[in-house]
Symmetry: C2
Subunit: 136 residues, 2 copies
DNA sequence: CGGCATCCCGTTGGATACTG
DNA sequence: CAGTATCCAACGGGATGCCG
């Protein structure tokens, strides 16, 4: 939670996303390609309430394969967005939790998730209407 | 710009992104997979200042191929996020512009873009440190 | 200029099986 | 339980060429 306040008054505020200089936008694209990944977003969302075990995350996200869950978690851990805690018991237990950075990411993701939830039906509707125009 | 105010006080506020019920999160995943696409984000960002011609968008985004630009624009048009205006002159001229829905999407994308811009170096640093741990 | 069609290859990602 | 490894199908996405 930092530098809010000028959130939607874009006219007088010079921000990088308004310039989109080639080199900058490529750097953004890289981060957004990993962080904007759908599984990433869902995992961060799932962990927003607190730490969870591997199996528990998988149960909440429903559609995810263990492959993608593992890959996603490893990348998030590598990026410093989640922490991995192994309890060397038997059977083993592993907890995942958002770091401080992860918490800020979750905050940045919230508006987008809200937007998606609010407009997904509208978009689905737009899609079907648009596709039905070109059918003979 | 609607229903802000309870932005980060999640404890008492029941919002869909905190429940992540299977069916809901799948719907979100679908929208996020298309809207969270890196080219989509860059195109929406490029159009945030106003309408642009096809070639002009391509020039601003630098790395994009005409294939991906065309596909992205068609999907955005299909989703009702951009409008396509053809001027039947010779040579032809086509302008793209954000719809109202597109404007709200851009607003929802801003925090994420800010976050990415602010933390991309930190993440790149985390990555290189993490990867150097497992090299013999 | 704007855009669609085709080829073609690298990557993504699911299914399955095996390990500590 | 929490992964790792392999196989393989589907998709993404660049390069090229053609059309209105």
């Amino acid at each position: 939670m930092a530098q809010e306040g000028t959130l939607l008054s874009e006219a007088h505020n010079f921000v990088p996303e308004d310039t989109l200089s080639p080199s900058d936008c490529k750097g953004l694209a890289d981060v957004l390609a990993s962080v904007g990944d759908k599984w990433t977003i869902m995992v961060v969302g799932a962990l927003s309430k607190g730490s969870l075990r591997y199996k528990e995350i998988q149960r909440r996200i429903t559609g995810i394969s263990q492959r993608m869950l593992t890959l996603t978690l490893k990348r998030l851990e590598c990026d410093g967005i989640v922490t991995r805690t192994l309890y060397p018991s038997v059977p083993p237990r592993v907890d995942y939790e958002l770091t401080e950075l992860g918490q800020t990411l979750r905050g940045a993701l919230l508006p987008l998730q809200r937007w998606a939830a609010k407009n997904k039906e509208l978009i689905a509707n737009n899609r079907s209407k648009a596709s039905s125009l070109g059918e003979s």
